[in-house]
Structures are given as C-alpha cells and as structure tokens.
C-alpha cells in the first residue's frame, strides 16, 4: 500500500509545474555554485604558486651568483669568501654567500593545500591567506598579509555548494511540502483518501518519502557531478571519505527540514499560514539565530583591537631600537647595499637586525597570542551554541569536511611557526658563524611539507555537529508522528 501511494505521489508531483521549476532552479544553483567555488579555490592555488615561484626565483638568482663566484674562485684560486655587504656585480663575493641576506631578503612561501572538497565549501579560505612568507622577519610580518579580495564580495560571501545546501535547499523543501496535508484538506480530498484503508501516518510518510527521494536524487547526483568537476585529488581516499561525510551531513540537514514541514503541517491551519510559519522559521534558524550567536561570541569574547596591537608592537620596536641601536646607525640597517665596501662595522647591523626582530617578536608575542586565544574562545562559544540552529551546525560541519575551517588553519599555523623557527635557526646560525653559503648548500635549505591532521581529529570535531543534527531531526520528526495518531480530519 505504502509503495502504491509513493508511486502515486511521485507521479502527481511529476505532473506539477512547480516541482519542475523548483528542481530546475536547484540544478542551476548547484552548477553555478560548483563553478564559482571551483574558481575561488583555483585562484587561491594560482596565487600560492605565483608567490612561491617568485620567491624561489629570487633565491635561484642568488644561487646562480654563487655558482658564478665559485667558478671564478676555482679558476683564479683563492678563498671562497663570505659577502659582508652587497657589491657591484662581479666584484667580490655575491650576496648569495651571506645566509643572513638570503634568509631575510627572500622568503619561503609555505602553503596550506586545499582538500579535494575545498571548492564545495569555501568557508574562511577567502579571508585567511593560505600561503605565508617565511623569512627571518617576525611572526607578525609573516601573518600580516591578507588574501586580496574585494571587501564587498567578502561581505556578500561565497556562492558555493554549502550556501546552496544551507540556504536554498530548505526553501525548496518548504516550497514543496508546506501544504502536504492542508492542500488535500482544502480541496476536500483528505477525507476521501482516509476513507481508504490507509493510516494518515502512512499517507504522510509516503508524501515525504516521494518528495525526499526526488530531492535527494538531484542533490546527490549533482553533488557527485560537482565533486567530479571541481573537486581535486579524486584518487585520494581522503577525498572520498570526506565526500561520504558530506553526504551524511546533507542527509541529516535535509531530513530536519522535511521533518519540520511535517510538524507544521500536522499542527498548522491552512496552507497560507503554514507557509508563513515555515518561512518565518527558516528566517529565524538560518539567518537570525546565526547572526545572534555571532554577535554573542564577539560581544562576550571581543578580539583585542588590531589597532592597539599595532601601537604596542611599535612601542616594542622603538624600545628595541633604543636598546640595541642607540650607538649605531639603523640607517644602514635599512640600506646595507649603500655601505661602502670594507666597512667592518656594517656587519654588526645584520646581527643587530636579527636581535631587533627577536626582541620585537618577544614583546609582541603575548599580545598576538591573545588574538588566537579570544578567537578560540569565540569558536568554543559557537561550538556550544551551535545546537540552537541546524544552519550553524551544518556550516561548521561543511567547513570541517571541506578543510576550510579555522581549526585546520590553526593546525597549519602551528606547523608554520615550527618551520619559521627552523628557518631562523638555519640561516641565523650560518650567518653568525660567517659561513659562506656555497651553491650546494642551497639544496639543504629547510623545506616545508604540510602534514594533514589525522582524520580522527576531523571526525572528532565533526561529531557534535552531526549528532546535534540527528537529535534535532529525531525530536522534530517524532512529535508530529505521535500526534498524527489523534489527527482528525473533521475537526479541522
């Protein structure tokens, strides 16, 4: 019997123009979202590559100089020396022999690679810079650059698959199912159907199943197409694991909205009032509650002002300069290339520059950590309050699954800080020893390799959101199905 009604409902649905236009819109939205999400990630990857190539190019240039110099030394005899200051081309050892110069004047761009699903949920990746310049400069300098994007577009947010799922799908679901019972009632067909040997629960279930089946077919079908077209690393198991989670999250989220439609249908009055209630709930859950939670987070744990941080960093810089450079002219620290050849004193400037950077780093570090601390507190608060809205749970879940969450970025930053220390250690030690860098040494420079966090960690962060959605769904779906037992057509 159930099967019969499902088939009947599906046929009926297929004959309504509204369904087809809704599905057409949905398909267009998914294609558009996949396209724009893919573009966004491609752009970031291209940016990372360009930056890395440029800086590596600078270093290769220095290396080429040292090769020429080495050949010259070999031909003419003599000692392979350390460049104290920059000389005119051809005269004396090139700057590439000086580890202090190589480590400070060129950077190594380290990159957080996108996961295979990054294009599905752009998340915070358009704000965070996913490639950072590591050099002898301070952490503050390393992290101050921002990804370039029109603030208007950042404020509008990405039109990615996550947006389609979180914002648009519920609207489509509501449009399909706001009048499940009420329309039959208004037409007078409900009493007739129920005169047949079918319970109202089964009727309701079959109506929902037929709609959900259509919706799921479209979402999963185009989800796979989206992944195949804009996803990357399709041969990696990680990508497919993540996609599996993406499907689970989407199913739970959609289930909640279908359940909500049932709930409103059971307790609702006429179609129009069901529509208003559902639209109102959508607005509250998807727009207002997330905004309120965000407002709460930034009000309870406001980030310290970046402006104040800047001023404090300057204060530290001035102090450091006064301590270390009072007797020397920092002017040459800025312009080593202008120091006349053979000026012994100039060598101290680079040493001082490093000491200077270190003391700024030390002074600013606590302030800087406070930002991360407040941000972590905000995230924790959002984690706790996510259960008030399925949209928040879903957004957090999708960012986690797509690897565009703040947590993964922090995992990346930790590795970058370690690499920064390694870089500083390598180059400042060689510099302080006045060790002349040879061409072969360029192969031994520290290299960065991002190590992905264990999948279990992602799963652990994801579980609360998924569980929350499951519980919410069960809560919403059980109530109406219990109540349906007592549903009386005539009383309406």
């Amino acid at each position: 019997m159930l099967k019969l009604i499902i088939i009947h409902e599906t046929r009926q649905l297929a004959r309504t123009g509204a369904l087809w236009s809704i599905l057409a819109l949905l398909v267009i939205a998914i294609i558009f979202a996949a396209w724009s999400g893919g573009r966004s990630i491609d752009r970031q990857v291209a940016g990372a590559q360009a930056a890395e190539t440029f800086e590596d190019g600078l270093r290769n240039h220095m290396r080429a100089d040292t090769e020429k110099y080495a050949a010259k030394v070999l031909a003419a005899g003599g000692e392979y020396q350390f460049a104290s200051v920059r000389h005119a081309p051809g005269a004396g050892p090139p700057q590439g022999t000086n580890a202090g110069a190589v480590g400070a004047e060129t950077s190594k761009f380290v990159t957080l690679p996108p996961t295979g699903l990054a294009a599905l949920s752009v998340g915070q990746s358009d704000i965070q810079l996913n490639y950072l310049p590591v050099s002898l400069a301070t952490t503050l300098d390393m992290t101050k650059n921002l990804e370039l994007e029109n603030p208007i577009n950042l404020a509008a947010g990405s039109f990615d698959i996550a947006f389609v799922v979180i914002f648009l799908l519920p609207i489509f679901i509501l449009a399909m199912s706001y009048d499940l019972l009420s329309s039959e009632q208004e037409r007078g067909t409900l009493a007739m159907i129920l005169a047949h040997p079918i319970s109202i629960r089964k009727l309701m279930a079959s109506k929902i199943i037929s709609r959900a089946a259509v919706m799921l077919a479209v979402v999963l079908g185009f989800g796979v197409i989206a992944l195949l077209t804009v996803g990357t690393a399709l041969d990696a198991a990680d990508t497919w694991l993540r996609f599996g989670l993406w499907i689970v999250a989407t199913l739970l989220y959609l289930a909640f909205w279908f359940a909500l439609a049932v709930l409103v249908n059971v307790y609702g009055k006429n179609s129009a009032s069901n529509g208003t209630v559902l639209a109102g709930i959508w607005l509250i859950l998807v727009v207002i509650v997330p905004q309120l939670v965000s407002m709460l987070a930034t009000t309870v744990y406001p980030a310290p002002s970046r402006m104040e941080l800047t001023i404090a960093a300057r204060e530290a810089q001035t102090e450091a300069e006064k301590n270390f450079m009072s007797k020397l002219d920092e002017y040459y620290y800025d312009h080593l290339e202008f120091v006349p050849e053979g000026d012994e004193k100039a060598m101290d400037f680079l040493t001082l520059a490093q000491a200077n950077n270190n003391s700024i780093e030390k002074a600013v570090r606590p302030l800087y950590d406070k930002f991360q601390e407040q941000l972590n507190k905000q995230e924790a608060l959002v984690q706790r309050f996510q259960y008030v809205s399925p949209a928040i749970m879903m957004q957090l879940a999708l960012n986690e699954i797509s690897g565009t969450s703040a947590n993964r970025y922090e995992h990346f930053l930790d590795q970058v800080y370690d690499f920064h220390d390694e870089w500083k250690e390598y180059f400042s030690t060689k510099f302080l020893q006045r060790y002349p860098l040879k061409p072969a040494d360029y192969d031994d420079f520290p290299e960065f390799e991002y190590s992905e966090e264990p999948f279990a960690a992602v799963l652990a962060r994801l579980t609360p959101s998924l569980l929350g959605m499951l519980i919410l769904f069960l809560g919403v779906v059980l109530v109406p199905f219990m109540a349906l037992r007592k549903y009386q057509v005539a009383a309406r």
Binding site: S36, A46, A51, N150, S158, Y178, A272, G280
Partner: protein
C-alpha cells in the same frame, strides 16, 4: 472610501496574531542590533582616536635618528568608523583598518576584523540595515499577501466589488492600510535610534548628519514601497493566498539572499582580480625590471650623469646636495608608476565589480539599496578607497620631506660617506611632516556617485506601482 478600506485592512492586520508576533520580533531585533552596534561603534571610535593620536606621537618620539630612517619607521593610518556604521557596518569587517606608511613601499590596509571572528560571522551582521533590508520586506509580505487573494478565497472580494468600490480605491485603500501597519512598527524604532544618536556625545559629528538620515530614510521607504506594491500586485494576480505567498517568498529570497552572492560571483567573473600571491609577484617583478623596462639602478646611473653635467662637477661627492638622499628619493619615485599601476588595477577592478553588481539591481532591488545604505553610512568602498589614497599621499609626502631634509642638511657629509658618519635628526625635524588626518569624501560626492542606484530604486518603485495598478484593474466581479 479609501480611508475606510484602509481602516478595515489596518484593523484586521493589527488584530492578527501574525502581526503581533512578527512586529514584536522585529522591534526586539532592531533595538538589539542598534544597541549592540552603537556600543561597538563607541569602542571603535575611542580606539581609533587613541591609536591615530598614539601613532602620530610615536612618529615624533621615535628617538633621534637619520631622517631617512625615520621615514622607514614611518607612521600608521587608522581608518575611522563610518559615521553611521552602527546602523550599517557595510564592508568594515572585511576591509583592512590600518595602513603602514613607510619608505619605499606602498602597503595594503591590514587588520581585517573578520580575521578575528569565527566562521559564523559569515552569516552576516545583525544590524539595523540588515533587518530593514531583509526582515522588513518579509513583514510586508506577511501582512499584505492576503489583501486580494485572501479575500478572493473567502468570497469577500466579490462582495466588496459589488458595492461599487473602484479598483483603484481598493488598491490605494489596501496600500494605505498595510503601509500604516508597517510604519507603526518601524517608525518608533528609527525614532529611538535617532534619539540615541542625538544624545550620544562620543560620536564624530560627521558632515550632514541630518541629510544622511533623511536620504537613508527615503531610500528605505522606497524599498518598503517596492515590496508593498509588489505584494499587492501579486496578491491581485494570483488565485490562492498560498500561491501569492510562495511567489513573494521566492522573490524575497531571490533578491535578499541569492542575488547579493550571485552578483558578487558574476562580477568576479566579468572583472577578475588576481589573488594576493599573483599580484605581489607581478608587482615586485615589475619593480625589479623597472616601470618601462629599465631597471631603477640603471636609470639612476643615467640620472647621475645628467646631474653631474647640470652642476658642472665630475663626481657625486662634489654635488651641492647629499647624494645618498638624492638617490633614495629618486629610487622611491621610480616606483611610483609601478605602484600606481598595480594598486590602481586592483582599485579599479573593485570599483568595476561594484558597478556590475549595482547594475544587476535591475533584477533585485536589494542591491542598489545596499549600496546606497553603505555609502550614506560611510562604510562602503568609496570611503575605503579615499582612505587608502589619503594614506598613500601622506606616505609620499612624508618620505619626500625626510629625504629632502637629509639632502639639504647633510651636504657636508658627501665626501666622507661611511657607516659611522651620518646625521641625526630629532623631533623638531620629524615635526615638519604634519600628522595624518583622514578627510572623508564629501557627502554630495557620495550621493552623486550613487545617482544610478537611486534611479534604479525609483524605477523599481514605479514598476511595482504600475504592476499593482495593472493587477488591480484586472479584478472584476466575474473574475473574483
């Protein structure tokens, strides 16, 4: 007749539970948003004032040093909050707030507040503007969608028509009734906001506060009018109230949620901008090879020859100005066109992207309104671009003044140039660079810039009224 229809409509709405609920929620949210926004604004103003004053002071107190080193130490420009940012925060969370102004380098603004917020912040700010842009239309739809189709369903439309009411009277009466109901929710909130603003003392009294509030109110009223007449039009055109509702909610979601994002993606496609890494690599490579293909150092050699000839001397040490300072300033200036080109490319692309998005306002009235609201609140890109260009002007002037001073005051060191032989300048010298002050763009210029957006809103309103009149005229005894 119109008034009695309006009175009936109004009474019916006000007695309805829907109205009480939606109105209560809206008032509560508006007040919360204004309060929170106002508190944030106060803090922001205080911090910005302190930071700018502090940075200007740091410039003076940086300790005695070579003037060019002082230019390296530089100064910071801190962006003030827009005068009405507590109503519409616009792009403020996503645009940088501080520009480091130093020798040799033009910099982008750093310190985007959104970087220090959780991912949930991307759901948007709850602000007076967002409530009026998104909730107000929904309120209007909820209150008005049954105006015709509801009456048609219950059979009263036929009754009214048979009493000799003209279609036009019916339309304007209903418009008046629904409109009044909407206004009694919104106006008190706006009044409270305005009073709070007047009582606040920490606010930077920006130019033309009265004009700003008037223009904003006008724009939002037009926006509300568009939705009011569209609601009535759709209600008159559809047979069932539930169809009316679905069509209107579909349009609302389209203009309020879908189009802002879609327009942004479309504009990124029509006017693509490079990611930071690509842009940075291109610009630095351009700097290295020189603006016109001649590397700066080569160019400077030519300039040196010319200089020596001009002064009739044989070596730089004999020049009547400090040669090192001349070189510094010249190299600085060789970079100007490179900066202008690459930063300008980004600035122009962003402006063009906004123009594309505004033009898409033909499809969605929320887009032109959003632009107007941000512009008048002083939280849009015009404000930001002006800030960036003020900072760059300041930077060039600062560096020039310092190099110039050095070039005149250190002539005697020309011959004895070494790392232990240099001049030191003190606070008095640094004071020849005036403190950084941001001049916000003129209000009249802002309004002129957004002329086409006002026009779009007006067009939308006219079209909505036209559609409503057309739809109301179609109603007849037979069709009802």
């Amino acid at each position: 007749m119109i008034t009695s229809i309006a009175r009936k409509e109004f009474t019916e709405i006000v007695r309805d539970g829907r109205f009480k609920w939606t109105a209560a929620i809206m008032v509560l949210l508006l007040l919360t948003a204004m309060l929170a926004g106002y508190q944030k604004y106060n803090t922001a103003v205080r911090i910005q004032h302190a930071a700018q004053a502090g940075s200007n002071q740091q410039w003076l107190n940086q300790g005695d040093k070579n003037p060019h080193s002082a230019a390296h130490y530089g100064n910071y420009a801190f962006k003030p909050a827009g005068p009405l940012s507590y109503f519409d925060n616009g792009i403020s969370n996503y645009a940088g707030t501080a520009v480091f102004m130093e020798a040799h380098k033009q910099n982008f603004a750093i310190g985007r507040p959104a970087t220090d917020q959780s991912a949930i912040a991307r759901f948007g700010d709850l602000s007076g503007a967002s409530i009026l842009q998104l909730l107000l239309p929904l309120l209007i739809i909820f209150l008005g969608f049954t105006a015709f189709s509801g009456e048609r369903e219950s059979g009263t439309l036929r009754l009214v028509m048979s009493m000799g009411v003209t279609n036009r009277q019916l339309l304007w009466g209903k418009a008046l009734g629904v409109g009044t109901a909407v206004l009694i929710v919104v106006v008190p909130c706006i009044l409270i906001g305005a009073v709070a603003l007047a009582m606040a003392d920490s606010i930077d009294h920006a130019e033309g506060m009265g004009t700003r509030i008037t223009v904003l109110s006008l724009a939002y009223l037009m926006y509300a009018g568009i939705f009011l007449f569209l609601t009535l039009a759709v209600s008159a055109l559809t047979r069932h109230a539930r169809t009316t509702l679905m069509v209107l909610i579909g349009f609302w979601a389209f203009t309020g949620f879908l189009m802002p994002k879609a327009a942004s993606e479309i504009s990124k496609y029509t006017n693509p901008t490079p990611a930071f890494g690509k842009w940075m690599a291109d610009m630095r490579a351009h700097q290295l090879r020189g603006f016109d293909g001649t590397p700066p150092f080569v160019k400077f050699m030519g300039y040196t020859k010319q200089l020596l000839k001009e002064y009739g001397v044989s070596k730089p040490a004999d020049l009547p100005m400090y040669f090192v300072a001349v070189r510094l300033q010249k190299l600085e200036e060789y970079d100007y066109p490179v900066f202008d080109q690459h930063y300008g490319m980004i600035r122009d692309a962003y402006a063009e992207q906004l123009r594309v998005q505004d033009r898409l306002g033909v499809l969605a009235p929320t887009l032109p309104l959003r632009s107007i609201s941000r512009a008048i609140s002083g939280t849009d890109s015009i404000q930001h671009v002006k800030f960036m260009s003020d900072a760059e002007t300041f930077r060039r002037n600062m560096v020039l003044k310092m190099n110039d001073y050095l070039s005149k005051a250190s002539v005697h060191l020309n011959a004895t140039f070494s790392s232990s032989n240099y001049m030191r300048a003190d606070e008095e010298v640094f004071a020849i660079v005036p403190p950084f002050v941001f001049e916000p763009p003129k209000l009249s210029a802002i309004i002129t810039e957004h002329r086409s957006n006002f026009m779009l809103l007006a067009l939308w309103l006219a079209a909505a009224i036209g559609l409503a009149v057309f739809a109301a005229n179609r109603i007849s005894l037979e069709s009802s």
